[in-house]
Symmetry: C2
Subunit: 244 residues, 2 copies
């Protein structure tokens, strides 16, 4: 029986999504819980990796479990009872065996959040990027607008390996909202390159702070400029949901 999981976690407590030798990844925590419940080593397949410090409200994953091991309605409580603080499965649904958390995904929604005021409220530390300086809202919006569409994002990603990967991606929407000192950038896309959201967020904020000309940003989107070397902090990023 294949189960589809919606997973939320506090990224500050884990070394990222992907299984690590030290066992401190979110995937490790889930696999350990399912190993206990299934009585056998069990792989949990995520929709995608998130880095250490990055949060999730709606990461998706699938896992195959023995039929009739537990009544379908009991899995949610049972799994959560075996998870450490900082990660919870919010929802479990039975899914057809051809569903694959990664390969069936049609897109993802990430939110990057910035606190734009002199002092950061302590309850938000590790969850938001503190940018105390003045930001130009119009420039922020213009920078974000320029990201939308199909571009070669080679200048806005970190290399994961030495093998060159295709770097053209489509950003379908980027919503910018401001509520008091809190600025949210919500990225909707079919797929994202490694560290791309954090590099786009850092670039847009640098433009809005007058530290990067908008023209430079646009050149880079035509793959005519050097790679951006600023990555916004992991704690400001949250995977909101995976689209299937």
């Amino acid at each position: 029986m294949r189960l589809r999981l919606t997973v939320a976690y506090d990224g500050a407590r884990f070394s990222g999504w992907q299984s690590q030798a030290n066992g401190k990844a979110v995937q490790d925590a889930l696999e350990q819980a399912f190993r206990i419940l299934c009585g056998t080593p069990t792989t949990v397949h995520g929709a995608g990796r998130t880095d250490a410090g990055v949060h999730a409200l709606g990461q998706c994953a699938h896992v195959d479990v023995p039929d009739k091991r537990l009544p379908p309605g009991d899995w949610l409580g049972a799994v959560n009872a075996h998870l450490p603080q900082g990660v919870r499965v919010m929802r479990i649904q039975k899914t057809p065996p051809d569903f694959h958390a990664r390969f069936s995904a049609k897109g993802k929604v990430y939110r990057y959040t910035v606190w734009n005021a002199p002092v950061l409220p302590p309850l938000l530390s590790d969850r938001i990027w503190h940018v105390p300086g003045k930001l130009d809202r119009d420039v922020l919006r213009a920078a974000c607008d320029s990201f939308v569409g199909r571009h070669d994002f080679a200048a806005f990603c970190a290399r994961r390996s030495k093998v060159p990967e295709p770097t053209v991606r489509t950003l379908t929407r980027l919503c910018v909202t401001r509520k008091g000192a809190e600025i949210s950038l919500t990225f909707h896309g079919e797929g994202f390159l490694y560290k791309m959201v954090r590099m786009l967020a850092a670039s847009a904020i640098r433009c809005a702070g007058g530290r990067l000309p908008l023209e430079d940003l646009r050149h880079r989107l035509k793959n005519a400029g050097p790679r951006i070397n600023h990555v916004a902090p992991a704690g400001g990023l949250c995977l909101l949901r995976v689209i299937y």
Copy 2:
């Protein structure tokens, strides 16, 4: 020169507001920062105590500092640079010497927050009370309405000492809002007894969950019933602001 401070803190990181022998209270952190900046032991007077685990967005305090030690606009940054993670002074204003954070206070606003769904999102742990069971909204509202006004809250407070204290207080307003699974109870009052907000919150939730008859609650407000023996968890409580 007297300064008025607006202080925010993550209660999970401190043993409460009031100075402790172990030095792990919010007051200790502030007094240590001011001692460094003033070059002499300095007392920080808070508007009131909060218990270990209770958060604040707008605790108020005052402190006397030597004139001309720093330009007035530099205090905020200087103090925050000497504070540990989990506490920040959000605002500093020069105030007349007859202002007293505790004795000048006319009231306080506390918010108690409950998460009413089967699973608690991990980013909210330590910040909300997880109540998974079904709650009757009408009963919750009726219970909260019955608290408003001038009552003897003797049944809804913990004793701090063996000396009996007056227990009549006026709750001027109690707003109940629900947004998805999150229920907020916002208490406006002239003054609160020890653990009163957490005992009122626990009682209202027990009524809404069918575990305490509304009539019992009302009897107790007439000081005709035994003391309530349920205290809602500290992490759900936040001191929003002090009214002067």
